[in-house]
Every structure is written in C-alpha cells, then in structure tokens.
C-alpha cells in the first residue's frame, strides 16, 4: 500500500467516523425530543394535569393555561377591558374599572397568587395586582371571572403585591415608586426624606373572600419590589424587598445601584394588629375605590372609601425591621418550611440565605447596625445563615420543589439553577431562552409544592417561534424537575408579559367549575326570564328593551319607535340552561364591544343612535345551524318624528310601555 493510498484510506475512515458521530448525535437528539413530546402530549379529549394562571402583564389580564401541554384555555379580563365578552364595556361591569381617578380601562398585572389554607393553595380565589394605578383584584375560581377590585391609596407602582399570608388572612400591597405621601405638589429633587412608601395589608374575609384595607405602614422612600409571607415558624411575618435605598430620583439605573446592599423589610403583621387594637395609628382620608361583582344581580358596584388606618413605625415599635441584603434584590422567597428567607439580589452573583430563627434572635438581642428613618437595621452577619456562592448572573426569583431544593431564575445569564436550601450547594443548571424573569413551580411558593414541572417565564422571545413582525408574544418554557437533572420539555407563547404565575392540580377545582348561571336565581333588575315577559319601555329619552336570546332568535327582533336623542338599553337575557351555549349581541354603529352572554345571564348594551335609519343587530357567537338567521333590526327615526312604538318577535307583536 503506498503512502497516497494510506492517506486516502485514513481520510475516508475519518469521514466515516465523523458521519457516524453526527448521525449518533442526531439520533440522540431525536430520541430526547420524542421523550419530551411524550411528556407534554395530552391526547385529544384528555385533560391537562395542572391549571396554570399566568399574569398578562401589560395586557392587564390573566391567562389560564393547561400544563404540561401549554394550551391556552381562557383569558380572564381583570384590569383591562375584554372585547371578547364585553367586560369593562357594558354597564354591568364598567364599575369594576372605577378608581379614585375615574374609569381606567387598562392596567399592568404582575403577580397572581392563589388563596391558601395552611400554606397550601386551596383553589378558592386567585389574586393579582395592578402596578400602574395601584389595585388588587380577586378572581373567583368557580366562574373564573373577576369578582372584586380594591384600589390602594397612598401608594404608586403597586409591585410587591399580591402575596398572601399562610391562611390568606392578609394580602400584601406596597409602593415601588415612592411618592410624596400624602400626595402634594413639590419639586422632584426634594425626593430624599419627602417621598415615602407604604406597605399595605388587605384583609380577606375567610368565607366570602371580600377584601378590605386593614392597615398601611408608612416606610422610607425606597422602591419596594416584591414580597412573600412566612409560613410555619415565620407565619406572623411578611417580607418585602427594596432597592433604591439611595433614594435617587433620576437616572436610577446608576444612582440606585451605588450601595452593596439594600434591604428586606421584615413586617410583623401580628404586631401591626396589636398596634391597631391599641389605637397606635392615624386615620387618613385619601379616597380609594372598592368595586365588586354581584353574581346574582349580574352586576358590579363601585364605592369610594375615604378612610384608612396608617401605622407609623416609630409609633408601633417592632412592626418592621430592615435586613441588609445584596444588591438591588428583586424576589424575596421563603422556604416551604418557613425557616429560610432569601433575597434574590439581581446585581450580585452571590445570594444570601437568611435564617428566620437568627432574625428573631438578632431582634431580641438588639443586634442592630443603625437605623433608616427610625427603622432598626439588623446586623447582616447575625441574620445570615449561608451563601449560595457563584450562583449566576442576575438572580431574580426562587421557588421550591418540596424535596429540599430551590430553583432560581437568572436573568442575565439566562438560566435556571437548582440548589439545596439547607447548604446553598448548586447541583444543576439549565439554559433558558431568553432572559428569564420569574419562574413557577405548581405550589412552588407554598408549604407543599407539587414539584413536577417548572415554568420559565421568559422576557425575550426573539427567534423561538415563527417571526410575527417587530412585536412578539412572550415565551414560556416547561422544564421537567422530577429527576436529578432538569430537562427542557416544551416552549409555548404567552399573551402579554407573564411576570409571575401560579398553578395547582386540576383535580382541586375542575369539578367545581360553574357551567351556567341559573335563570331562576338571576336577580338582574332587567332580566327577562321567558319570551312572555318581553317588553319595550320608554322612560323619557331612555328606551329599555327587555330582550331574550335562544337558538336562534332574539325577541324582539324588530323594534320601531327609537328616535335620535334616545339612549337605548338592550338588556339581553340568554334563556339557554345548558353548558356552552352562549349568545353574542352587537348593534351596527354602537361604539362599544359586543356582549357575550352565558346561559342564564343578562347583559346590557347601551347605544345612543345619532342618525336616522334602520340598524341591524345580530348574534356574534355561532350558536346553531340557524345562527346566521339570528338577527334583527332597530328603526331609528328623526328626533322630531312620531313613529309607531312597536316591536315584533317570536311570532308576536307588541306595543311599547310608555312611563311618565
């Protein structure tokens, strides 16, 4: 064999070997993909194992997803109008979006939180905050609709919200953007000392879920960012992170990143309760809105409250302490046993794990390192239990699997790290795509996590899906955490920025879901419970149409007698009493959204016609084979005309009832 031949043979062998390696790698990748696909595959007609509730961020809503499939099941309108069903457009639900600043059709939702009993999600309610105009909402998990919204006075940027105590005694709210409290006109560069924050506690009625503002603690003008409440031994406490302890008012990017440590505010809410009992508070009168939905009347109500109890820490010693924590922390998380408190310092690669017992000891022994505006600062070393060293870049938020491990999201290095709560030892890392914010494990911030999956809630999407122009949906990733190594299973897009999320086993709430509104129990003042009760009533320039909808007709479907200058109220009751037969209602030219009316429900569309003519209305939700025929007309006559006031429908004809 000559040298040339040997070279050729060697080269061929090398090519073959390389090809073999490549094919092998591809085979392995394919097998992994098949493995992952099987784990997230939910066969047609089958159900997901978990309900997940993802914040809709700047979309102002909550998205309900199934896990492990990542299928979007529903979008719940919360702080934003929902054109899909008329929420926030119709007079029944507009009061839900009232504030002390008037009607606001939008907000920015961040942190959903499930109600808990003994530190475990109980499937009753989901709470979520509005960051922009400070509010908190309660969603009823039987109807999966927003039941109540309460505004937070004396605050701005309601970010460390809405986190519950172990038995949902309270819900937190707080001030991310400190402001003059009470609000007043002062130059912005007089921030230091004049701008303040509040940490608010909302009482939850254990039977009805009804929210009321219990007390607010006035705190220095830092940026209070996130919160979590204690469990077990730390039951009486809630923890709030803060950044900008520098009290900068401009170019915060640099000016609020000067110090090595900021603070966790540890609030003893039991102590606050004592101070309220002992009268150690001030009554302030900043107005705030309180809105709730009455399920029987199918209608929301809004009231302005003008009284709140404000606790000043110097008048209630022991109510709040500051724990120094590295650096500009975002999340503050408590281990399932309630023994450890962690500040996720987003500008520090080393995370500090604090011990609750050590904190109590330091308080007792007065191991203070000075104070901030009279609030004691605990000595860092006395409270520190251990570090998580060289954790990652930009740690943001941590949840638990219930098996002793913590999982931290790392924004800058785009990864999730797994580590041991008790020692800080890092045992695994997995890259995520891209720039993860929060992460979520079902029950992962509770006393008993269902540690099967982890959802990475990523901020940046880029090339993960087919491109859709400059604006992209956000991206979530499902990770299997049952083994020693984390395994990426699935990407799925989410609507709006899912800052944070919650999940619970579907079995906890699936069978409690409402299917219809019982027509017999419908107490809407304009309900029409059978076609016999249909009528049209004129009261001056108001026209009330008591209308029914059933497959596939409206009664009435001809209305004559409306004049320009009238306000027409179409009160439509869906007479169906079987599951999933909604009817929609829309009127040509009406400057509002359609109403989607569930079986047994009544909703109103308000219309002020401006031009004479004949205007069609129709059912917007495909309801039957004769859905296309589900239509009608309303005739609008000039203001000075004298048209007959009649209606037709259901084979009948009627005359209007004229009142006054």
């Amino acid at each position: 064999m000559n040298k040339g031949r040997i070279k050729v043979a060697l080269a061929l062998a090398l090519v073959a070997a390389l090809a073999f390696v490549a094919v092998g790698a591809r085979k392995t990748a394919t097998r992994l993909a098949q493995d992952a696909a099987q784990k997230v595959y939910v066969a047609p007609g089958e159900y997901d194992e978990f309900y997940a509730f993802l914040s809709g961020g700047f979309n102002g809503q909550v998205g309900v997803y199934g896990l492990p499939s990542g299928r979007l099941l529903k979008i719940i309108g919360v702080f934003s109008q929902n054109p899909r069903n008329g929420y926030g457009y119709n007079p029944e639900t507009k009061p839900m979006l009232m504030t002390s600043h008037g009607f606001i059709p939008w907000d920015d939702t961040h942190h959903p939180e499930l109600s808990m009993t003994n530190g475990v999600p109980d499937g009753r309610w989901l709470f979520i905050n509005a960051n922009n105009t400070p509010r908190v909402a309660r969603i009823d998990l039987k109807y999966m609709e927003t039941s109540e919204i309460i505004e937070i006075p004396n605050s701005a940027g309601n970010h460390p919200s809405s986190f519950v105590t172990e038995n949902t005694e309270y819900l937190t709210a707080g001030t991310r953007f400190s402001v003059p409290i009470p609000q007043r006109d002062i130059p912005i560069d007089q921030y230091k000392g004049n701008f303040k924050g509040t940490l608010s506690f909302i009482k939850i009625d254990p039977d009805t879920g009804k929210m009321s503002l219990a007390f607010q603690i006035l705190v220095p003008g830092f940026d209070y960012d996130l919160a979590h409440c204690g469990k077990g031994p730390s039951h009486d406490w809630c923890f709030f992170t803060s950044y900008n302890t520098e009290e900068a008012h401009t170019l915060l990017e640099i000016n609020a990143s000067q110090r090595d440590k900021d603070f966790i505010a540890a609030v003893n809410w039991k102590r606050a309760e004592e101070c309220i009992k002992e009268g150690k508070y001030e009554t302030w009168n900043t107005p705030y809105a309180h809105n709730w939905y009455d399920e029987k009347k199918h209608m929301a109500f809004s009231e302005i409250v003008k009284e709140e109890k404000v606790i000043k820490p110097d008048q209630c010693p022991g109510v709040v302490y500051f724990i120094p924590t590295p650096k500009s922390p975002h999340g503050v998380d408590v281990s399932p046993d309630g023994k450890y408190i962690l500040g996720d310092g987003k500008l520090s690669a080393t995370m500090a794990v604090f011990s609750f017992d050590k904190m109590i000891k330091a308080i007792k022994e007065k191991k203070f390192a000075g104070d901030a505006y009279g609030i004691p600062i605990l000595d860092f070393e006395s409270v520190l239990d251990h570090y998580v060293k060289n954790a990652c870049l930009g740690p943001l938020h941590t949840e638990s699997d219930g098996k002793g491990y913590a999982y931290t999201s790392c924004f800058i290095s785009s990864e999730v790290i797994k580590w041991k709560w008790s020692t800080g030892e890092i045992v695994d890392r997995i890259p995520v795509y891209y720039s993860i914010g929060h992460l979520m494990i079902p029950g992962g911030d509770s006393a008993k996590p269902w540690g099967k999956y982890l959802v990475a809630l990523n901020k940046i999407t880029k090339d993960r899906y087919l491109p859709t122009g400059p604006e992209l949906n956000q991206s979530a990733q499902l990770i299997d955490i049952t083994g020693d190594k984390m395994k990426l299973l699935l990407d799925f897009p989410t609507v709006g920025e899912p800052h944070y999320a919650q999940a619970l086993p579907a079995s906890l709430i699936k069978d409690k879901q409402a299917r219809i509104y019982n027509l017999k129990e419908n107490e809407h003042p304009y309900a029409t419970k059978s076609e016999k009760q249909v009528k049209v009533v004129r009261k001056g320039h108001e026209v009330h149409v008591y209308m029914t909808a059933i497959r596939s007709h409206f009664v009435p479907d001809n209305i004559e007698g409306v004049k320009v200058g009238d306000t027409v109220y179409f009160h439509v009751t869906n007479l169906e009493q079987d599951w999933d037969i909604p009817h929609g209602f829309a009127v040509f030219g009406a400057p509002t959204a359609n109403n989607l009316i569930m079986p047994g429900e009544t909703k109103t569309l308000v219309w002020k016609p401006t031009k004479p003519g004949v205007y069609p209305f129709y059912c917007t939700d495909f309801c039957s084979a004769l859905h296309q025929e589900m239509q009608g007309y309303v005739r609008v006559s000039p203001a000075d005309a004298n048209p007959p006031m009649i209606w037709r429908g259901g084979g009948e004809e009627g005359k209007w009832i004229v009142e006054q």
């Binding site: 079987d578 084979a625 004769l626 259901g650």
Partner: protein, 160 residues
C-alpha cells in the same frame, strides 16, 4: 354507577306508585279525562326504554298547573303549541309518542337525537339539537308532560 342505577330504579318505582295511588283516588270521576296514546308506540333510548309508565286516565290538574309554569320557563322559547317555532309544535305529542319516549327525550336527549330514529328524523327536519336545561329534577319533566297531556285533553293552553 351502581347507585345511579339504584336511584333511577327508585325514581321509576315512585313514579309507578304515584300513578297507581292517584288512579285509585280518582277512579270514579275525572275533572279532566285524559286522552291516552295508542299502545305499542316506540319507547326510545334511555332510562325508560325497558319500563312501562302507567298513565292515569285523569289529568292531574295540580301537576299540569306546575307543568304550565315550567313549560314557560324551560320550553316556550323554542316550542309553541300549534305553530312551528325553533322546534316542532307540541299539540298532539302525547298521543303521537309514548310517555316513555318523551321522558327518554327529556332525560337522555343527546343520545336520543343521534340514535333514535324518530328523534333523528326530527333533528334533520328542524336542524337544532334540543337542549333541555341541565340539572332539572325528573319530577319537573313529569309535570311538563302532564301539562302537554292537559293540552291534548282539553285543547286549551291555560290550566284552570
């Protein structure tokens, strides 16, 4: 599943006993004498497929009155008595169909409209699947049936 069957059986028995008792009480004279359907009509598919409902020769007026109200609430948006509406006109229905078939249609609608030959043909004609309200107790359907019997006996739609 077993307890559901037991419940259905119990309901069926109560039905039969009720019929028997009222038949005895009103043997002598009826306020309103019912018209009875011919024997041997199909019974349809459902809990009454293998049962026989003994019909009282008298219309139970209290029950029919209750049925009148329930009819307005649950049925009138889709059914008229003499005219076609969303569904077929109902005059004569208690003579054209067996009571078992009608109760099966109330209680087992989905299966009836897709598999029973008569209900299937009606669906092809009217093109809308009947949706009786969910969660209604069986005795309410029985009252509606009695109201329809009253209409067929008297030709009137208002029970007096």
């Amino acid at each position: 599943m077993r307890w559901i069957k037991a419940l259905l059986l119990a309901a069926g028995l109560a039905f039969a006993i009720g019929e028997g008792a009222s038949a005895l009480a009103t043997q002598t004279k009826c306020q309103v004498e019912a018209k009875l359907p011919p024997k041997g009509l199909p019974k349809g598919i459902g809990p009454y497929a293998d049962k026989t409902i003994k019909l009282d020769p008298c219309v139970n007026l209290d029950l029919a009155k209750k049925g009148e109200k329930l009819f307005e609430q649950y049925c009138s948006a889709c059914h008229k008595i003499t005219k076609r509406y969303v569904g077929p006109p109902l005059k004569g229905v208690t003579l054209a169909r067996s009571p078992e078939w009608i109760m099966n249609l109330f209680l087992n609608t989905e299966e009836m409209v897709w598999n029973d030959p008569i209900a299937k043909a009606l669906l092809q004609q009217y093109l809308t699947v009947m949706r009786p309200p969910s969660g209604v107790p069986e005795e309410d359907f029985r009252a509606i049936y009695e109201y329809l019997r009253y209409i067929d006996a008297t030709g009137k739609t208002e029970v007096k």
